[in-house]
Amino acid sequence: MAPEANLTTDPPAGNAPSSHSEKVSELKRGAPWHVVFREDRFFMLLSVLIGVSSGLAVVSFRFAIDWSRLYLLGTGSVLTPARLLLAPTLTGLVIAALVIHFFPKARGSGVNQTKAALYIYNGHIPFRTAIGKFITAALAIGSGHSLGPEDPSLQIGACLASVLGRKMRLSRDRMRLIAPVGAAAGLAAAFNAPISAVLFVIEEVIGRWTAGILGSVVLSAVSSVVVMRWFLGSESLFRIPAVELRRPSELLAYAILGTVGGLASVGFAGGIAILRPFCKRLPLWTQYFQPAIAGLMIGIIAVMGAPQVMGAGYEYIDQAMHGQFTWEFLAILAGLKIIATLLSFTSGTPGGMFAPTLFIGAMLGAAVGGAQHAVVPHLTGSAGTYALVGMGVLFAGFLRAPMTSVFMVLEVSGNYSIIVPVIVANTFAYVISRALQPTAIFDLLTRQDGLELPSMEEQREEGILHVEDAMQQPRDSVLDAEETLDDALRKADSSVLENMLVRMTPGGWSIVSRQNLRILLSEGKGATKLASLLPPDLIPYLHPDHPLDTALRYVDRWPLVPVVNRADFRQLEGIITQQDVLKRYREFGEG
């Protein structure tokens, strides 16, 4: 790491170093660029570069997927059975060989790998992983495996960020944060939705909001989206139909959609929970064939009449939104897509879960909407509205990213009138999914891989202890600075506490022990006011709503810390000691 900038060590003007070693020394001491490139500012600048590079990588990745689709599956919208069967099967064999021999870390979706980089590997992701992910995921998605490009884009972005961070020799703290910055850039470019990408990374990867990291994440996401739009245009993933909600009573229909979506999410996650460990337990040699077998089965589904399940399937989401399928067929497609995605994902084929989740959600949403229309024809929501809400529902229920799920739908649709149905449906899906499948999908995958990464969902819902949970009532622990020493000692003698708080005038708090009061009395200062006897330094105070962690900073330095009212700092709400804090933590740990 480069030394911090030091303004005082700049060489005097006009005294230029004469030799190279002097130049070097000057660099070490703190050359002008160290002022400009202070690490926090530098990190911001680097975030833009990460965004640009991720944007370029994601654009190339999109080209690669489209090209592999063209050459493997053909150019038309109706594909021949031979291609439908052979392309995913043979490509599956190639992918398996590549993953086993060259890119073992390219397996899976990429979200957990990015989290692992943050929490385990200090932000380190090998460059080879990005290359492997790029090639294998492009082949897999292009050949028709039921996977999406978003999670791989996220991982590619994180990997590029990690490489840049290493080259820039960032500090360990910054290195840890750089992978999420790249992840946001990759995801934003893949989704063409910077807000959702930022939220997802904050919600699922980093798990906390801090101003420093938020700025970098936003910068990288925005710059990657700018690059992506430069090349691919600004059109959204889907043509969004008109959305309207005329009667609030129709929210009931969306609640039903949320319930169905929640159950589907549980089924989908449950499938992964069972199938993935099963596939992993199979003999090692079977890994060469697992993606091929998955590909063959997906090909069979396609030949049987549902080629829509192949690949990311965005064009079919678009068609579903425009009422091009019957609700019965939409329901079948949702079911088949769950099966196809389970096959592709659990076989270890590299590729993402976002696109399949959106596909299943859209189909399910449009199917539920269509079925409800058949029963209650006066419902005003179109198939497109239900499909849009359905996407959010699966996002909330399966990926368990409730905030992202709402903003994703808003960002994709660009229509705020859909917010109420989305919130209603997503809440139902989230609650049902949580109740029936306690472990979120990303946590499940992590644990299956033998890692113990922090669960963002658990962190979000972890109870936070506050000062008010540990403080004692003030009782008879307060003296007034205007009292004489004699009065103060009398009060102190009647108290059970050894240390007494002193309310200073006009404000602030001090502390004095009974022993100190006695010493001062022995010096003959009994008639003197306390204010003139106490040291001028005041002690810190806390408020009842402060996190208990904050109290820890003070209780080891002061035996007693005042807890005061936020509106009136002279009003004591309680007192807190180190013992109080430790006791509360102990109780909390014991449950």
Partner: protein
């Protein structure tokens, strides 16, 4: 040599490239330069990618267009969908897909595409016309009229006048279907103005004018068409019908005869020709007929009316008290007239001709109301009544 930070530094007087390359600003500059190259590389890739997609899109679109022309809607639909894979928002691809979908009767999906296109180009003639057709099919007449109107005044990239005329023609057909004759006639007049003398076009106008019961304009249109082609049986028949409706029975006869010479199986023309001949023959008010002949015609008409009156007054007729009373009066009147209606008296007294024919016309009208439109000679008398006395 190691400095105080524990890093290797160059010996004095020796340039240490490795050291400089490890400085953040230098790395930043290098990375920026690399990104510029990467940007150029991706720009190149993007050029190849888009040109390939354009070519593929155009290829599928051309195939689809051929199939659409040949009304192979299903194949066209697949091909346009394939084209759209390469250019999702291409206006022409979407419009053609919508037309294929309309051909396949998938109107809901077609509407969805067309409405999107309409939002992009609200004054596009084809889009408005297709939306008008779908709305008309779905019975949404107000919407259909609006779209058709927009199509009439919209921009058409090629053959603008012709396309507008076609759109207006469809609008007129719609208006006729919903029985809005006044509006249809107004549109039709606008359509025919400045339409030129194209015989087919004029024949079409003739038919439409017949539908809106504007027989004068219908006849004029047919005549214009016949100027170019006198051997068009349909046109002759139409002109005959228009002339017949206008009460120009002699002219109608000529047209019907010419039509039947070309198409003897045209039963409508046969019937109308027969009626026209009867009207001409039985009309006592024709000029330049001898008084004896006129008296004979009037006497014959009086007899025919009497027969009709008796036939209509039989118990088979529906019971109608007021009607029966009226026919009773007419029967009495007819009976009272009968002795006076002789060949001689009719020749001698022209006023008697008028009063007799007046009675005949009243009988025919009354019996037409009570017993339905007659045929043959009674119909001829009824038409003569209309011709000379108006409705």
């Amino acid at each position: 040599m190691v400095d105080s930070y524990g890093e290797r530094v160059a010996s004095p007087g020796r340039f240490n490239l490795r050291f400089y390359l490890r400085q953040q600003p230098v790395i930043l500059t290098i990375v920026s330069v690399l990104l510029v190259f990467a940007f150029l590389f991706v720009t190149g890739l993007s050029g190849i990618y888009y040109s390939q997609r354009r070519a593929l899109g155009a290829r599928w679109f051309n195939r689809g267009s051929i199939d659409l022309k040949n009304s192979q809607f299903s194949a066209a639909e697949t091909e346009f969908r394939s084209a759209l894979l390469y250019s999702r928002d291409d206006f022409a691809y979407q419009l053609n897909l919508a037309e294929a979908l309309v051909g396949m009767k998938h109107t809901e999906e077609a509407s969805s595409y067309l409405l999107n296109l309409w939002e992009r180009e609200p004054d596009n003639g084809r889009v408005n016309l297709e939306l008008g057709r779908i709305a008309a099919q779905d019975g949404k007449i107000r919407e259909a009229r609006r779209y058709y109107h927009d199509a009439v005044y919209a921009a058409w990239p090629v053959n603008e006048e012709q396309k507008r005329r076609e759109a207006r023609t469809e609008l007129i057909e719609l208006l006729l279907r919903v029985n809005d004759r006044a509006q249809a006639e107004a549109e039709l007049i606008a359509l025919s103005e400045g339409a030129g003398n194209d015989p087919e076009q004029q024949e079409k106008f003739g038919k439409l004018f017949l539908h809106v019961q504007d027989y004068e304009r219908a006849l004029a249109a047919y005549r214009t068409s016949l100027k170019s082609n006198q051997h068009n049986a349909e046109c002759l028949s139409g002109a005959g019908y228009a002339a017949f409706q206008l009460g120009r029975y002699t002219q109608a006869q000529d047209y019907f005869r010419a039509a039947l010479a070309l198409d003897p199986k045209d039963t409508v023309s046969v019937d109308l020709l027969r009626t026209s001949e009867l009207v001409v023959r039985m009309d006592p008010f024709r000029r330049e007929i001898p008084s004896a002949e006129r008296a004979r015609i009037v006497k014959s008409a009086f007899g025919i009316a009497g027969d009709r009156l008796r036939a209509c007054d039989t118990p088979k007729s529906p019971p109608n008290v007021a009607g029966s009373a009226r026919t009773m009066n007419l029967t009495d009147e007819w009976a009272a007239f009968k002795p006076t209606v002789t060949q001689q008296s009719l020749r001698a007294n022209p006023d008697l001709v008028d009063s007799t024919m007046d009675l005949v016309f009243r009988i025919e009208r009354q019996t037409a109301v009570l017993c339905g439109t007659p045929g043959g000679e009674n119909l001829a008398l009824l038409l003569i009544a209309k011709l000379h006395e108006g409705n």
